[in-house]
């Protein structure tokens, strides 16, 4: 029997048992659509978080001393960069925009509002210089960035709301200076920052480089230099080589933003893996439904199968007939799922889903602040189509391989 005949027969069989076919195809389609939408949302979350990390927190990467890099999570100011200006000049000459920053941890003590103390991450920067690399100075929602020489601070807006802080309030930072001696920084709140980076809004505080230098006895040193890179891959790779060469010449190391964001990447990687788990669960559910459908189909059609075999149809042909039926179900389910996924993804890409209520209060490591936009990921549609058909074929193969080889007499008598 020809393949075309078997495929036409399989299609007719599916139409004969229309309700069962529709239910199985629908289950598969809904599962695949859910996978496509979840994958789109997670990929969008990852993309937006990465941009927020680069533009508002890390730059494309940082140059630090090797000693600082080894212990960077403790922000070891003792291992700060001694000659940031020389290094930045060299980067400038190579056409790499850079900005010096000093990052340190502190305990913030607030006496206004609800009062109390809480840990903060402080980033010291020169607002004019920092604009060359980062966008954080453009995210002041109320007030202004502190001016050079001013004992002021701009704080994340969410943190300010939580602590009842307003512009003009005083905040004290308990810090340890570069040499390990304790110091207290008395700062006035000059501005509130609301950036697209949730971590900044939640736990960051910004001061000027000279304020940090003064209180932390840095004597011109900074913890790191942030750089930005061009977009084109070739130019980017060329600049990266330049940066690495300059970093080595100054006894420093360059580490890209991914090196500094291992915790975030672990979270994002875990979530992307979970979308794979969801796809797996979808297929498990679909497999059970499909196995049930195929078994029912075989059991109900025992006499028909016996008749066809007695008329000369070979076991292989019969087996292929059922495989084609399963393959068609897989094809229809996958196609339906892709159509549903495409339709659902249009508003997700255009309008997004507002998760502000969740991001405001829960720290999940992601950097986006609220609205997640979906993205178009061609590969997830391709995976869905291939996986949908393959899973249907393999489930049918396992389910039917013994059912279609019973003796003809038994089948006709059944």
């Amino acid at each position: 029997m020809t393949r075309g005949f078997l495929i036409r027969l399989a299609a007719k069989n599916l139409l004969r048992y229309r309700r069962r076919t529709v239910i199985t195809v629908t289950v598969l389609a809904v599962g695949i659509a859910c996978y496509i939408l979840l994958d789109s949302m997670l990929a969008g979350t990852r993309d937006e978080s990465e941009l927020a990390l680069i533009y508002y927190e890390m730059g494309e990467g940082r140059l630090v001393t090797p000693e600082y890099w080894r212990d960077w999570k403790n922000r070891p100011l003792a291992d700060s960069l001694e000659d940031p200006q020389g290094l930045m000049r060299a980067l400038d000459e190579a056409g790499v925009p850079s900005a010096a920053r000093t990052e340190f941890t502190a305990t913030a003590v607030v006496r206004t509002g609800i009062g109390g103390s809480f840990p903060v991450l402080v980033s010291a920067l020169d607002p004019n210089e920092d604009r060359r690399v980062n966008r954080i100075t453009d995210t002041i929602k109320t007030g202004r960035f502190p001016r050079p020489g001013e004992d002021g601070a701009a704080v994340g807006e969410w943190m300010a709301q939580d602590m009842g802080l307003a512009i003009g309030d005083l905040i004290t930072l308990e810090v340890t200076d570069r040499w390990g001696s304790r110091e207290a920084m008395e700062l006035e709140i000059t501005g509130l920052v609301n950036s697209p980076n949730a971590q900044i809004n939640r736990s960051f505080l910004f001061v000027t480089l000279d304020t940090a230098d003064d209180y932390l006895s840095l004597e011109g040193a900074v913890s790191h230099i942030q750089v930005t890179l061009p977009l084109g891959k070739r130019e980017r790779d060329r600049k990266l080589q330049e940066i690495t060469r300059i970093a080595a010449a100054y006894g420093t190391e360059f580490h890209g933003w991914r090196d500094w964001s291992a915790d975030y990447l672990a979270v994002a990687g875990g979530d992307m893996a979970s979308s794979g788990v969801i796809l797996f669960l979808v297929f498990i559910i679909a497999s059970v439904g499909l196995a049930n459908t195929m078994l029912m189909s075989v059991m109900e059609r025992q006499r028909e199968m016996g008749m066809m075999r007695s008329l000369g149809m070979k076991d292989g042909g019969l087996f292929r007939l059922f495989l084609y039926e399963a393959g068609l179900i897989g094809l229809l389910g996958s196609a339906g799922g892709i159509v549903l996924g495409l339709m659902g993804n249009i508003p997700m890409v255009r309008y997004g889903i507002d998760f502000t209520w969740m991001m405001r209060d829960f720290d999940m490591g992601y950097r986006f602040t609220g609205i997640i936009h979906g993205v178009w990921r061609g590969e997830s549609y391709l995976y869905s189509m291939i996986s949908g058909v393959l899973i249907c074929l393999s489930v049918s193969w396992f389910t039917l391989r013994k059912q279609v080889t019973r003796p003809i007499v038994d089948e006709i008598a059944s």
Partner: protein
């Protein structure tokens, strides 16, 4: 006139020859509180606007550079803090892992207003500070030497300290700790001292973080054993597990 000046100078020299210096006071105070080994048990009570929290502990120390503290209260049972020279290790039995602390992390809070550095600080004050006797005062009902310590090393935890030391026992009565910008950061008040042999141990004290302002932490030592025999293994990372 010349005779009068000579007499005054001579009297001054005599007085200075008999006077004790700030360094001598600190040296004596450190010596009275230095032991080869020590084992003690006690409790730390943190008082703040949310109420009181109490933790109990056992601690062992050998010289200035080796110290081990193990929490014994139910909530933190088995958590340990080990200092060996300038490195500290934290062990949490629930996480079954050791965290190594160094640098500024030593300033982090161990309990209430007490930092890891506070509990493991050695009695080597004059290595880090210059001491000057700035007066004598009645403090907390005791006649005290008032000694000012100024950091001679940049890594001193506090830039300046004012200490009131009991004239009769050379034991600390009260201390104030200042930053380089002369901000009063912390103070310590000694409420109880135990005499063990010819040594003194601060057995009850209160630490106040004056920046936070609304909290203080009390530390009490109930049982103190001086110069017990301690195994070398006690002060190793392996012993934490």
């Amino acid at each position: 006139m010349k005779k009068i000046i000579t007499l005054l100078l001579f009297t001054g020299l005599l007085a200075s020859a008999g006077a004790i210096t700030g360094s001598e006071i600190i040296e004596k105070s450190d010596e009275l509180q230095s032991f080869d080994t020590q084992k003690s048990s006690g409790s730390m009570i943190s008082h703040d606007r949310f109420g009181d929290i109490t933790s109990s502990f056992i601690s062992w120390s050998r010289g200035d550079r080796e110290f081990l503290l193990e929490f014994t209260n139910a909530e933190e049972a088995g958590q340990k803090v080990l200092r060996v020279n300038d490195t500290m290790y934290l062990y949490d039995p629930d996480a079954e892992e050791t965290i190594r602390l160094s640098g500024s992390a030593l300033k982090d809070t161990l309990f209430g207003d007490i930092s890891y550095e506070d509990v493991s600080e050695g009695n080597d004050t004059l290595d880090t500070y210059n001491a000057e006797l700035v007066g004598e005062e009645l403090k907390k009902g005791k006649q005290c030497y008032k000694v000012e310590l100024t950091a001679k090393k940049r890594n001193a935890p506090y830039y300046r300290q004012l200490l009131w030391i009991d004239k009769s026992t050379f034991v600390l009565v009260f201390g104030e700790y200042y930053s380089k910008r002369d901000v009063l950061l912390k103070n310590i008040e000694v409420l109880g001292v135990k005499e063990v042999g010819d040594k003194f141990v601060l057995s009850h004290l209160i630490l106040r973080d004056l920046i936070k302002g609304d909290s203080h932490t009390e530390m009490k030592l109930d049982d103190i054993e001086l110069n017990p025999v301690l195994e070398d293994r006690l002060f190793t990372e392996e012993a934490l597990f």
